[in-house]
Amino acid sequence: MSVRYRPVQWNRSKVVYDTCLGVGVALYLLIYLRWAPGLVEPPLIGGAELRMRAFGTCAFWMLTLILCIGPLARLDRRFLPVLYNRRHFGVLTFFVAVAHLYTVLGWYTAFSPIDPWVALLGSNTDLSFLGFPFEWLGIAALTVLFAMAATSHDFWLAFLTPPVWKRLHMLVYAAYGLVVMHVTLGVLQAEASLAYGAMIGISLAVVAGLHVVAGRVEARRDTAPVSDADGWVQVARIDELEDGVGRTVTLPGGERAAVFRHGDKISALSNACAHQNGPLGEGRILDGCVTCPWHGFQYDPETGRAPAPFTEKVATYRLRRDGDRLLIDPRALPPGTRTEPVRLAEAVS
């Protein structure tokens, strides 16, 4: 959270995260370019071609990992620290992909009187499926990655609004699809080795499999709302609410609310964090504030407002008790609206 924009709001977690990213990329490239070629004598392909493949496969591997982080964090919250700085992971992936493009421009389109970009986009005119200019697919994927990297900062999140920003960044799946086709209609058409085909197949299976499993688990968590005659929805029995821990409630229409017991009071607000739609209901109460599990954005549970001087706010919901049952009004109040909490002392009395 910040009241003013900085290039990067460094903290210890981000430094460690980025160090791990840097070490990982450096390790992969060093092994690919320096160590592994020595295992086969003589080297099987040329040096420039090896660099193209090193950067290209590294970017693909990074993109695969990025797409696995989301569902893994849904399945096991211990992966949330990996999600925390995922944007830096994405930006670094973009730069590795740019290095791949740079090596292509510096070799395949170099030493020619034709402009490298004209050559890259215009040299292959075979539009049949197997002959399709796979370079176009790579450029399209890189364009998406560029749009995501360029708008990764919180300034753009606020400027574009979270829903638009989120939609833009969901294009990562389109980029992944384009990269899969780029590899399939590119190097897989040239290499008889099974290694590259296996890489694509395993990546697709893992990414798709994790998303399907996470989706099923998520769907199972979404219990059908039970409404009273007046339309209020049952949340839980009062004694089921754990102090300081959120509970997610699915409302008619599919919206979700996050209900928190904080001390002897119970409040409800929107489940979607104003920052990146993180699941507030999976958060905790820290320092008296509902704290998002994704990036630690905080809100007063009774008003849905971030503590001053921060300005984020989310919708709130009215609660009432019915015996030992807690009920929620499914009609969201405008973001930042103060609501009267249900008092635990009254509820259990």
Partner: protein, 256 residues
Amino acid sequence: MTRQGRAPFYVGYLKTPRALLAFLAIVVGGVLGVSAVLAVTLVVAQDDWGDAGFQWGDGYQTRTGILKVEPYPVLFLPPDAAYPQGRAIPLSGEGKRGVRDKAADLDGKPVDIGGFLLRAGDRDMLQVGGEVDLRPARDRSALAGFSGPSSEAVGKRTLRGEIVDSKCYLGAMRPGEGKTHKLCANLCLIGGIPPMFVVYRADGPPEVLLLADLQGGPVTDALLDDTARYVELSGTVERRADLLVFRVDPATLKHL
């Protein structure tokens, strides 16, 4: 009832709970380990694209022979003990450029040529440049009256293979063939590098033929869409010294 409150809760700007550190260390170590295995696998398991390459170790080379410009510039050396039919060395310029312009006035004449050799198998190519470059021969005595090869008809043929640019295939790049190289192959061919037809054989090294149109002239423009594909072409084959020339009708081309 599960007690979520007891599970460690991570907030990026706060100290990471000790209980999570071991898990995260395992995750990071696992990803780094898989990355290392992946990098080694992808390097070791890729195809072997042979030992074609520039012969930089041989240093700057000069040759004296008869230059023929059609269909593409080739230097022909007189027969000797090692090459009783004579020797053909296709020529390229530096980068993705041919030498047709500088060779045009010397067609059929004795020339000195200097440059660096490329070699794939027993097929050489010379990248022309440097001090000698391409010039009229200063000492014709080495030719011993050799005036160029005669063309010997081999016959009509329908062959299956790949259209490549000769410079990359003969060693400027590895791989200098296949889909990933198509962009470069087309740039080379547009620049004037001679196109060749590579017929892959299960029982030995590929057969490499210089491509020409039916009249024996250049055929590049008609083939650009079909480089780097496995195709079938029909035409007539003739032998010039140790070089096979495949005169093709582009209309017979079929994708396989």
